[in-house]
Every structure is written in structure tokens, then in C-alpha cells.
Symmetry: C4
Subunit: 366 residues, 4 copies
């Protein structure tokens, strides 16, 4: 099935910094939609801590390291990336821009970074894959209760050349998000993949999302998903060394350290606080993806230095998408790459391998 | 003596979160009364720290734990509770709502949680017991100087099927509360139990409350109260491992960790800061009740993980009572249960026993 | 020489808390004078830290300790005090109220606490002594360059039945105080003692205070002052264990832990932060006076628990003096005694000896 | 080549404190220029932390140390200085005042402190040297790509009697400075030294500054620069013990601890946080210059006590220059000397050697 993707209205955007995009995006996104995208759960402690915790990580820069034109390209799961960045899997991107995942996919592709698509995307895997067209791509799975639907998703992901399946483990139900209550907001719009599976029937609305998802997640699913799909399985939502170890023992091909942008359990540490302990246990046996509060090139360097192999960014790409479609996404990625470039030069790192060896200090131990 | 309880005006209330109730309740309670209910002592450090200290406790959530529909029911002193929650014993609840303790008792009963009645309640033990009618119930004792009055209270509590007596040890006089000075506020209204003991005579006003209470509290009282009442004695106001150990050695059947909501001694740690050290000394020999600044389901989980068996909440239930009578109390409990439910699912806890084994980190050691 | 002391306009004052007096006093004291009294040096870090550091000291209250009507009376240098409090030696009290040190002396006497008079007082030692009249009294010495003048001061102090001489060691020149610069303020008014020594001639103004004082202070002075006066010598301004040890070895009869209310060196720790280390070195060989940021009864208890024998309060007494003359001073002392009384009862301390044994935790180690 | 230096409009200025100069200077400097001078990189964390970190260093003052008229004079590289201060090398000082480096040089000379001139100065080395005229002077080198130009700079520096060359190692490209983006500001004005090398042709604008500078800095340059110039080589921008050790091993004659005023890499520790570890490794083998956030005399003492031999101050001298030309520079230095004088007296330090032995505590370890 081929169709001509509609990227909607696009334009490159000026990016002063990632944080500044939020206010600008708020002006162009509906109030309920913006609340849903931006909020954390409960009183927002963990969401806020995700970013502030980076201030408690201190890079110790080296000088006279013979660095010129630092090279931030990297390899991840066999893909060559222009930068160790990924668009975090976010649901329902048409909330931000009519092009939804098509815009995200094209922006990521043009920027040379990894794109991850959510089960709850506004576009089907096939539609997105047509844009992505072989560029680095991963598929995020909210485990459905229906194994038939799950197999459909895995089949589609494999057809889309997904380099891995990301099984989200931290969202067996939704966090308590007060802005949605205040705004009387219920996630609208179809779940494209579910609609696709239902052979065109209108899929379930967002209100029933978790009814469609499975609660009783366990370690046994890893092998089941890997066996059916033949793809590497990453576990997303790991916040403890114990879970990282258990997941690898159970066959996980990668660890995704995340607290879901502070949208699920509140009262957990900032995501970066949990990374060093997890990286120690993982000990390079499998790759680590990290997300949580990243807003600066220096945040990316800190995460890499503390053990991440790939750093995902969520809301800022949604804001870029809202403001400029795929070109906005690319603008965000390009800005971040510029900040990474400067930070690598100024910390004395010629390559991403150098960044991973950089000495950082931190004030927490979890 | 049977009478038809008057529950006053009641309605279920929308609860965005427990903290948000304070402002709403302020609008319906008298200024002096609201000041008295809401305030801490001195400059309010300990009251504020009670809640902020929870941010220094970090839960480390587990994933893939096979959890579905987590079960927060628990047993406490032989009672089955729908959730490990208690309405903390608060004096004079008619300050908040005409139904006073009747509303609290019915709200707690309908929510399936423990109710604790204060010696300084606005309703007699017997009146409250008629509503409570066998539901989980404890009686809090401010030790009177008059042993005859004390015996009367213990008799009434036993008749009311109290599962235990909570002897408050941290209030041999009142903390210094500046809002009362500013508002020229003196606790008004009768002490129902004292009036009952006085065979209908108007009891002492709040101004003489501490004149009626005993100062010279000591460990020997525990046996005396237990012997007369035949009931387990909990000591409320424990903030040190040394006092917990001494109380158990002297016959206490339970420990109630509390700093009286920051209304008594100011300059003490946040209540949750003192819990781990006390739990270590108690070592499961007797049950532990905890209160202090609880406003979130995650706070409940943190307290349980640090050693509490039952978690009491004070002011928020008063505010719920003020806003909706017994239905407001139930609304508060239901909201908290909802938050607990989500937090259990997201931390990988199927049961309260799992919560108690959850790994948490904290930044204080007392 | 006898005269009738003029206490000026007096009235008891309502004291909500000590902190609240500052704003009220500002309204009745001249702008320059208020700036001079209230300010700290440089950017005020140490002055502010003096009070906030008390929040990092946590009392661990005991219960069931058989306490009733706690007794805060104490002995210091043979004097019986109603409370372990002292009016810190403050210069030029007529800046606050026409009665100056006469009001301070009478207020302290009526409250049963120690009074300390500054060398730079607005009233002579003899005038003050006539009011003090045998009540607990100490004399604070800014070491003059002129030994004759020094002998005169010591003679007068002995005649006034001073129980000790407090040699201030932290003020060989004045701290940098920006409010004085902003207000173009120069300490006005005569130095009464200097005028007295000059047989009635008008003494030097405040501008030349430090010209009259000696810079080259050293340990040898302790014996010299003790030999001439026959009085115990306390060293004021001790902030290190090393200086405490050296002073005792050189003959000091007492240690006065102080950073001069944050008016001298800025960038030093809060005064209470330095107390535990000093108390450890002093090891009860000599008594310890403490000042620095005390605004609460709980602050007094914390200082005693960390090693102080007597706790001095400065600015709040000046404000009380400004607002009510000697009766205002007494009102401040009475309020503080009330807060101490409550705090003793609630921490389970029957006596000051119990307070000194109370367990406190703190987050600093200097 | 002799000419009459034009010092422009000059006046001594009142300095309440160094921090207060910023607002006053903002009023007389162009918006873009002020942004460029004042800003830090990214979100300004490191710039702000440079100053706030001094609050985490606590001086423990000694008393009775026989101190009178403390002497802050010091020797550095054979030069006698009235105070251990230096004007940090700042680019393009005509942005602040028409006299540019001429004013800085004269102000420093009159104040008896070290002057450091930037490669990117608004005046040539020769012009500045004519004013400096043998007063303590260092030359800061941004390594040019062109070795001929580099030799020219070194020749000029030697002719100007520079006591050392400061090779800046932390700026192989510029930090990301958002105010310049917001203000659409590009550093204007000629690079005087480059113009001089180009025999009078108009030099490159600021936009191409880093095009003219070398990226691939390495340890081998130290010997090369030392061999050609015959001058001691300091490395500026050292933030780690490892780099300090490596630089000394490679022939560096001095270490300059700095994070470029927080204008380059953001997310690094406050500069003072890095000093103790570096000083330990340097172990007095070579002298240490320090800069970063110094605004108080006490900051200077803290830096000396933690291992610095010379303390540089940047922006405040630019603001003094803007407000009063060379006299403003001298006013700033004089104010700082006054604060240092008071702080030395009050910490019991007679000499700079005493300051270096002072006991300080700090809450960080990098």
C-alpha cells in the first residue's frame, strides 16, 4: 500500500535552546493537548528532577587534547547515526502537528538520528515506514492483551525494518496527571495501528488505551516477543540495577533507562540519578538507551559519560514538530548537535568513545 | 442510649489532590478555626518539613513484576482494612463540620479504613461508636489528671469496641501556635467526653484542656492503662529509637510515630525522617502507625516501605469533612486509595507486603 | 556618685516572636541607627546563616519522661539565673532607646537573666551598676590602646560587681557594613566610659572607636587582664577549637562562641555550626557562652544541647528596648522563657541539665 | 613607536561592592556589548555557581594572633605586587571604555597589581606596554593557526616585558552564549594585534576570531612556545588535577585554574570547587593563578587558602573601566584591597603566607 505522505505545513525554526520551545509550542497547540504533552504526574517532582538532576552531575573537562572538529557520529544496532540521539517514542503526534509520526520520521531521517515510533502513534507503522524508508528506526510496544494484535504489530515492525522492539514496562496503567483532570482532557483521535489491525474500523479512543494494554507484564514476555519477531527486545522503564540484571538474564537485548518523562510514577529519582548504578550492572553486555529531562548538549554528554549509548529526547521534538513540522524536528536535532559539538570540543573529546570515557562527578548514589 | 445521628449537609467532593483541599476548606471554615486546624507551631518548620522530607525519600520501582489490579487491603489489629489508612485523631471536629466525629466515623467506615477518635472530640465515644458500629476504630487518650475520668474514657472505649488505646505522649502542654495568637483564637465548644463524664454539665472549654490533662507522663502508665482497659496500648508521639524501645519494654503494644503534625515541638525532623531508625529498633515486635505530612499515595508507599504498618492522615480528612461531611471524608480516602493503587502498580507491588519490601533510598540518618 | 536613673518611656510589649520585633522597631528607630543595629557585614551571609543553621540541628524529643513544670533556672559564675539567657553586649544602646544600658540592665534584672555591658555603652559602668545593683552582670572589654584607660575600665567593672570580664577578640577593626555606607551613617553619641575616664570631657565619637582600640591582641593579654582585675576572663569571638584550646591554656576562665552577629567577618560558618567542635575541645573545663542568630526557645535548647552554658541574645533585646524601654526588654525575655518552657516540656527535659544531655543531630562538621 | 596614550574620560568611582557595579555599568555600555561581557554560556549554571560556590567554603577565623595592619603584598614571578590580584585577560576592552587596555593597564599599575592582556585586546601589545612600562604584566595567548603571527605576538610580549605567557586552553571554540543570539550581537571592532601583524590592514572581525585560532591544541605546544619566547608558559583553563599534572610534566611553568568565567563549557563545577584537588597535585611545584566568580575580599582569601598564588578578577574590572576609565579600575582594585585588609585582620592573618595556611572547610570534593 503506497500513498503520498502529507507533511502539512513545514518550516525550519529558530531554536534558542530546547527549553524555550515549550512556551512557543503552547501557543500553537490546544490547551488540553498541550497539557497532556507537557505534564508530569502528581505534583511533577520527578519530571522536574529529571532536568535539575543534571546540575548535580559535573563534567571535568580536559584541555590540550588535540581535538579539532569533534565527530559525534556513532553506531547503534548496526545503524550509522550522525549523533547519538533518538526521538523518544511519544504517543499521538498529531496532537502536535497534522503530519504526526510522518513528520517525526522525516525530521529524524534528515537529521541522521534514530526514530522510535509508539504503539499509540497517530500513523500506522506502514505509513511511517514509507517515510522512514530504511533510516534508523525502532518500534515501541505497549503490550496488547490480544496476542493476535501483538503479532500484527510485530509483523508490521519487522516489515518496517525496525532494528529493535522497545517493550515499555513502566506503564501498565497511566500515571495520575492532574492537568488532564483540570482540563477535562481525554486523549482524542484514533490509534492508527489498532485501526489498521481492525481492518479499517475506527479503533479504540485514548480513554480505553490501557484497557487494550496488558497489565501482568513479566520477564517471560521477553523471549516470547523475541521468538516471534526475531528482533532484539529492549526493556523501557528500567530504573534499578536489579531490573536491568533481571531483564538481561531473561533475554533482553538492550536496556532503556527511563521514568517515562516523569509522567508515570512520581517520587522516583531523576532518571540520570539511576543511570550509573544500572550501567555498572549492565557492564556493556547490552546497549543502553537513556531518556529523562534532556535539554542540552551537555546533558547528552553527561548521560553518555554515565553509561548511555543512545540518548532519547521526547517533548522538545514534539514542540519542534508543532512549530515547524518535519523541518522543526530537524531544527531541534540540529541545535542539539551544535551544542553537542561545542561541548565535545570544550571537554576535550574527539569522538563519542572519548565522551564515554570522560570523568564526571555526581552527588547521588542510588 | 440510642439516638439518630445527624450527619448534616453532605456531598461527595472532587479531589484533585489532598493539598488542594486546604484552600477550598479555608473558604468554608471560620478564620480562627481554620487557623487552629491548619497551623504548625513556632515558625512552622517541622510542619512544612513533614511533607517536603518525602521528596528526600526515593522509591526505586520494579518492572515486569507480573502485577495486575494491586490489592491494598491489609489487616491491622485483627481488623480488615480496605487500605492501610487511618483518620488521625483530631480534636473538635465540629470546628470543620456540624457532624464532627460522626462524619469522620461514617466516612472512614464507608471507605473501609481505620478511624481514630480523640479524647477532645466534639462527640462522645458512645455517639461515635453508634455510627462506627464495629468498624475498625481506635481511641486516642489525652491522659486526664482525674483517674476516675480516665477510667470512664477507657470504659467507654472498650464499650465502643476500640481495638486499642492510643496514648498521646507528645502533648503534655500545647505547642506555641502563633496563628491562634494573631487570631485571638481560643478553642471553643464543649469537650463532649468530659461533658458526658460530668453527667451532662457543661465541660471545660478548650482553654483549660491542658489543665485537665496530666503532665507527668511516664512509662509506668502503660501497664496501668493496659491493666484497667484490657486493651493494647499504643504510644503516640514517638520520634526516637530510644523511646520506641523503652515503650515496648514497658509494655506498649504498638508505636505511633508522629510529631503531631508539627503542631507541638518545632525544630524536630520531618516525621518520615525518624521512621527508619525507629522501625529498625522495633524490628516487627509491635505494629507501627505513622503520620506526618502525608498528602500523596506515594507518601503512603514510602512510609510503608520504611517500616509503617498503618498510615494516618489528619488535616486532609478535616478538610474533606468540612467540604462534604462524611461523603467528603470518603472522597478523600477514595482519592488516596486511587493514588495508592496507581503507585503500587507502577512500583511493581501486588500487595501491601510487597510495598513493605520495596527498596527506597533516603538522604537522612537520624 | 548617686543619681536617679531615668528610664524614659516604658511599656510592656506584645511579643509574637522575636523575629517580628525587627519590623516594629524599624518604625521607631532612625534609619541610620536601625541600619547600624540590624546589619551584617558584606552581603550578610554569616548573619543570615546564624539563624538558618539552626534548622540543620534537629532535636530528638523524648516522651514519657515524667516531666512537669520544667525548671529552666541555672547557675552561672555563682549567679542564680531564672533562665540560661544573657543580653549580649551591644554598643550604644541609646541608639534604640533613651534609657540605653539602664533599660537593658533593669529589664535583665527583672527577668532574672545575665546582663552584659559593652565598653562602648551609652552609659557608664557606674550608672549601669546602680541599676543592676548586684544582679548578674558581666563587662565586655574592647581592649583600649591606653593601659590607663583599660585599668580604669577594669576598676569600674570590679566596683560594679562584674562576675567576669569578656574580652572581645574578633573586632580588632570593624567589619565592612554596607548599610552604613549607603546611609552615610557614622555611629553618633558619646562613649560614656571614655568620657568618664576623661573626667567629663566629651569622649571620642564612634568614628574613632577602633583608633582607641588595640589591634595587636594576643594570648598574653589574658593573664595581664586577670592579674590586674582579679576577675575571670572570657574570650569572645571564638570560632575554632584551636582558639578555644589556646585561650584556656593561656588562662581564659571561659569561652564565648560568637561571630559577632555576623557583623565582623563574613563568610564564616553560622555560629551554631562551630559550637560542637569547640565544646568537645573545651570538655567542661570552663563555661561556654554562645550567641549567634538566636530567635527561638528551641534555638536556646539546641545551643545548650550542643555545649553552651549560657545563651546570649543581641538585636532582639535592642528591639524590645526600642519598643518598650526596660519593660520591652523584660517582655522579650519573658517570651523567650515561655518558648523555652514549652520546648523543655515537649523534649522531655525537667531541668537545664537534662537539656544539655538531649540528643541532637546536625548536618555539619567543622 | 611612541604615542601619547589617550585615557578618555576618567573618574574615581564609589564602589559599594563589586557585584553592584554590574547594574551601573549596564547603563553606560551598549546592550549587545553588555550582554557579551556579562553573559555565561548555555543557561549560565557554571557562571552563577562560580560565585555561589564560595558560600560552601567556610573560613575558620583565628583570634588573638597579634595581627595589626595586615600586609597583603606578595611576590609573583619576581614582581612585587601590592595585593595578590590580577586583571583577568579580557578581550576587546574598548567595548567597555574608549581607553580599552590602556585604562586597564594604568589602573592595574596604579593599584600595584598584575595586568594580563588578551590576544584579542583592543590595543596592541606595544601600546599597552607603553602604559604598563615595566609594571607587572602577563600576556594571554589564543594560539593562532599562523605560526608567523604567533611568533609576532610572542616577540611583542617579550618586548613588553611580559613575565609570562598565558596559553588559554579552554577556548578552542566559543561557548554557546544565548544573549548574543538574542541581541543579534557579533563582536565588533578590530583585533589590534592582528591588525598590527597585518602591518596596518584592518584585521579580522570578531566573527572570525576562532577561525584565526587553532583548535588542535596539545601538550607539545608548551615547549614550542617556551622555546621560542624564552618565557614561562602558564596554561589557562585547567579544571582537573589530571590536566594540571600533565601540563607540568609537559613543561608548563604555571597553572591557571579557570572555567573562563562560565563563558565556555557550561555544566562544569564552580571554579573554586576544582581548586583544592588541583593544588594538591601541583604541590607547590609551580605557581597557581585562579579566577572564577570572585566578588569579595573573602573570596580572595578563600582562593589563596585553597591553593592559589594569584587571584584574577574579570568582569568587575571591565565594569570599573566602563564607569571611570583607569581610575575606575583602580577604584575596584582599591575596594577589593580594603575588603582583603579587613578579612585578613579578622581571620588573624598578618601576611599572605598566613592566609595560605588558614584552615577552611568545604562541602565538595572533585
Amino acid at each position: 500500500m503506497t500513498y503520498t505522505p502529507d507533511f502539512g505545513s513545514v518550516q525550519p525554526i529558530d531554536v534558542l535552546n530546547l527549553k524555550s520551545l515549550e512556551k512557543r509550542a503552547e501557543a500553537v497547540i490546544g490547551r488540553g493537548e498541550f497539557g497532556y504533552i507537557s505534564e508530569g504526574s502528581d505534583d511533577g517532582y520527578t519530571k522536574a528532577r529529571n532536568t535539575t538532576a543534571f546540575n548535580d552531575v559535573q563534567m571535568l573537562p580536559r584541555v590540550l587534547q588535540n581535538v579539532e572538529n569533534p565527530d559525534q557520529s556513532t553506531k547503534f544496532l548496526g545503524s550509522s547515526l550522525a549523533s547519538p540521539l533518538m526521538t523518544a517514542p511519544i504517543a499521538g503526534n498529531t496532537l502536535a502537528h497534522s503530519s504526526g509520526e510522518l513528520g517525526l520520521a522525516r525530521g529524524a531521517k534528515e537529521a541522521g538520528i534514530m526514530m522510535a515510533q509508539s504503539t499509540f502513534a497517530s500513523k500506522t507503522i506502514a505509513e511511517t515506514a514509507q517515510v522512514s524508508d530504511g533510516a534508523p528506526y525502532m518500534f515501541q510496544l505497549y503490550m496488547p492483551k490480544d496476542w493476535g494484535y501483538c503479532k500484527y504489530l510485530l509483523d508490521e515492525a519487522r516489515n518496517a525494518h525496525a532494528s529493535a522492539i522497545i517493550l515499555t514496562a513502566d506503564s501498565t496503567l497511566g500515571g495520575y496527571r492532574e492537568l488532564d483532570v483540570i482540563n477535562h482532557y481525554h486523549l482524542k483521535g484514533k490509534i492508527a495501528n489498532l485501526a489498521g489491525y481492525n481492518t479499517g474500523e475506527s479503533g479504540a479512543g485514548a480513554g480505553s488505551l490501557f484497557k487494550e494494554s496488558m497489565q501482568k507484564l513479566n520477564l517471560g514476555l521477553i523471549d516470547k516477543l523475541a521468538d516471534y519477531s526475531g528482533l532484539p527486545i529492549f526493556i523501557k522503564g528500567i530504573q534499578t540495577p536489579a531490573d536491568a540484571a533481571a531483564a538481561i538474564d531473561a533475554g533482553a537485548a538492550g536496556i532503556y533507562v527511563s521514568n517515562h518523562g516523569g509522567r508515570q510514577l512520581n517520587g522516583a529519582p531523576g532518571s540520570i540519578e539511576t543511570l550509573p548504578g544500572i550501567a555498572k550492572v549492565v557492564d556493556h553486555r547490552v546497549p543502553i538507551i537513556f531518556d529523562g529531562g534532556v535539554q542540552r548538549g551537555t546533558h547528552v554528554l553527561k548521560a553518555l559519560a554515565l553509561g548511555a549509548d543512545l540518548v532519547a529526547v521526547g517533548r522538545p521534538f514534539s514542540y519542534g514538530l508543532a512549530l515547524g513540522g518535519w523541518q522543526g524536528v530537524k531544527s531541534v536535532a540540529d541545535h542539539l548537535k551544535m551544542e553537542i559539538y561545542i561541548a565535545m570540543q570544550l571537554t576535550g573529546c574527539q569522538t563519542i568513545a572519548d565522551v564515554k570515557k570522560m570523568h564526571v562527578t555526581y552527588d547521588f548514589s542510588r
